[in-house]
């Protein structure tokens, strides 16, 4: 099979969510000496792009988007060791600390965002649910995060997002980390009100938001500001 044809078949297999077939094809490609980074860049990422577009057009539904992300993650678990063996690394886009705020134990939306951030190339530290305000900050400092992502589903726990922003300001750390908010109860307006750095209504939008903020941080002069 021609290389271009092979990459196209990988892309299409991912779009069709044929996990076993995809793994077999990748195994075959690796055996025949194809560069694992090229598999990602020329086969899988174009596949994810198509899936993203189809999701926008409501051609595929959220559970399919999730499934594709999980398949991608499974495939990456095979490819990453090969890339490391070659002494190369995949540059991460940034580091995100994520969790559901104090008093709220809703997890599903937050997990979708985590997964899409991970496959989008971010290193994600998930603190889980009902997370104490200061735990977000401690973790962000520990892993030198770019972004703190706060989820809240309940209108009654939404103020937990503001608490984190205020606690950061209180510790003179507000400019060090970008704070993004989401979840059923959050809105663009709320994000503005509490002076968060961004809000996203959907998980794919959260990834775009995170990418934009990391790029802005770089323009602003990098980490540790």
């Amino acid at each position: 099979m021609e290389k271009a044809e092979m990459f196209l078949s990988l892309k299409e297999t991912l779009v069709l969510l044929e996990e076993e077939d995809l793994l077999a094809r990748i195994e075959e490609a690796l055996t025949s000496g194809v560069d694992p980074l090229a598999i990602i860049e020329r086969g899988l990422l174009p596949g994810l792009k198509v899936i993203g577009e189809k999701f926008q057009d409501e051609e595929i539904f959220l559970p399919e988007l999730m499934r594709s992300a999980l398949i991608f993650q499974g495939v990456m678990a095979v490819l990453q060791p090969k890339i490391r063996e070659q002494g190369r690394i995949i540059q991460k886009k940034g580091t995100v600390v994520i969790g559901t705020v104090k008093g709220d134990i809703h997890t599903i939306g937050k997990n979708i965002v985590r997964l899409l951030l991970e496959i989008g190339g971010f290193e994600v530290h998930d603190l889980g649910v009902d997370v104490d305000t200061f735990k977000f900050i401690e973790k962000a400092k520990e892993v030198n995060a770019d972004i703190i992502a706060l989820s809240a589903l309940l209108t009654s726990t939404l103020s937990g997002q503001r608490d984190v922003v205020e606690a950061l300001a209180g510790q003179d750390l507000r400019r060090r980390f970008k704070v993004i908010v989401g979840g059923g109860a959050a809105t663009e307006k709320w994000a503005e009100e509490i002076k968060a750095d961004g809000y996203a209504e959907t998980a794919p939008a959260a990834v775009e938001l995170a990418e934009g903020l990391v790029a802005r941080r770089l323009r602003e002069g990098g980490r540790g500001l």
């Binding site: 959220l62 008093g103 809703h106 979708i112 009654s156």
Partner: protein, 475 residues
Amino acid sequence: MNLAEFFTGEELEQVHGASLLVLEEVGILVRNEKARRIFAGAGAGVDGTTNLVKIPRRVVEECRRCFPPSFTFRGRDPLYDRTIPADGPLMVTASSAPDIVDRQTGEVRRATARDLGQIARMVQELPGFDVFSISTLVADAPEGHLSLVRFYEALKNTTKPVRSNTPNMKELKEVLALGEIAAGGAEAYLKRPLLNHHYCPVVSPLTMDVESTEAVIYLAERGLPVYGTICPNGGMSSPLSPLATLVQGNAEFLALGTLMQLVKNGTPLIYAVLATIADLRSGNYAPGAVETAILQVAFSQMARYYRVPSGGYIGLTNSQENDVQSGYETGIGTTAALLGGCDLLNMGGLLGSLMVFDFTKLVIDHEIALMLKQLKKGVSFLPEDIGLKEIGQVGPGGSFLDHEDTLRRMRTTAFIPRVATREMRERWEAAGRIGADKRARQEAERILAREVRERLDKETDRRIKERFDFLSCFS
């Protein structure tokens, strides 16, 4: 009236059996330590590492036998006390929206204490609403006193039963202190607890949280009115199959009901739900979906199987304005619930998936509420209603318009709407082509223009402010 039903008796048994299996074999994650101890004390298996509680069917069945068949909401004025199912269907406002549509600008903004006071006043004036479930949050409440400000504004403006939640025990105790002052002392309050508490202690799938569960235990121990709503969201927090969502949600209700009986035998409860199927194109929440109505009917039938009152957040809309979608979603949802035997409908005043309160929507929903109550009455079947005398007197070709029987019944038989138009086109055009939305807005303004009546007497209000001095800013 024969209620709408989806299931045979045998199928109800199957759902019940499946839910028991879920509790016995899958178990429920109980994050509240006191609740774990209570379950363990009753013979449930508690895993100390994972906090997973497996409840044997014997424990559930014993508690189920103690479920009382009725629940009473008390108002500050006993005239407004309501017991379900006897006084049902109760029409209740939908609650806890952070935002409001500004009456002047039409823009959406955060709700304030002043807004909430006006909403409570409207609910007092609208006879179709039985219970005021506190419609909005309050953005200008002092830190840590959100619930107190909400309940205070409610009590100050309505004497109907007030219902809401609290985020933590500190705020719950503060609210109870307020209730005691309003009732005229702790003892009087215990005799007539005039605040009604509501929580969602079970977060689907199969998880009991810390704070709400603590509040439910605390209130049940003291015999104060409290109930929970179960909110599985098919495809997200419960299986996509509506039947499986019923099985899981029913297990979640049974777990909560069991805990409440273990705390105190005979604690009244309501089998209340907000069961939905997610819009899986995007994962968006869809309380306005017809599946919410379908699931409400199914859960109401389960409530009857357990002989407990049935309730739900039903008739909510996903629409962001008072448009056609808002009307048909509220109409279909509430009608299905009513015909399915739901005793309590949290249905009034909110747009946009429970996020925004709107006075116009409240007035439209009030009209729907009155229509539903009318529907529930059905056809009166008394001997004098059969009409043989009147049919004989008027005879073929006559008119009933001026018949004595028509005059006697004309103000009571048909529901007279205030929002819906009955005008012919020409008159409607001549009057400025005013639609339901605008008429409802005018009605809201008309009600709010009435003289404000303080519903708390001066002395009680003084005592409340003496105890909570920061409330002086909210008078």
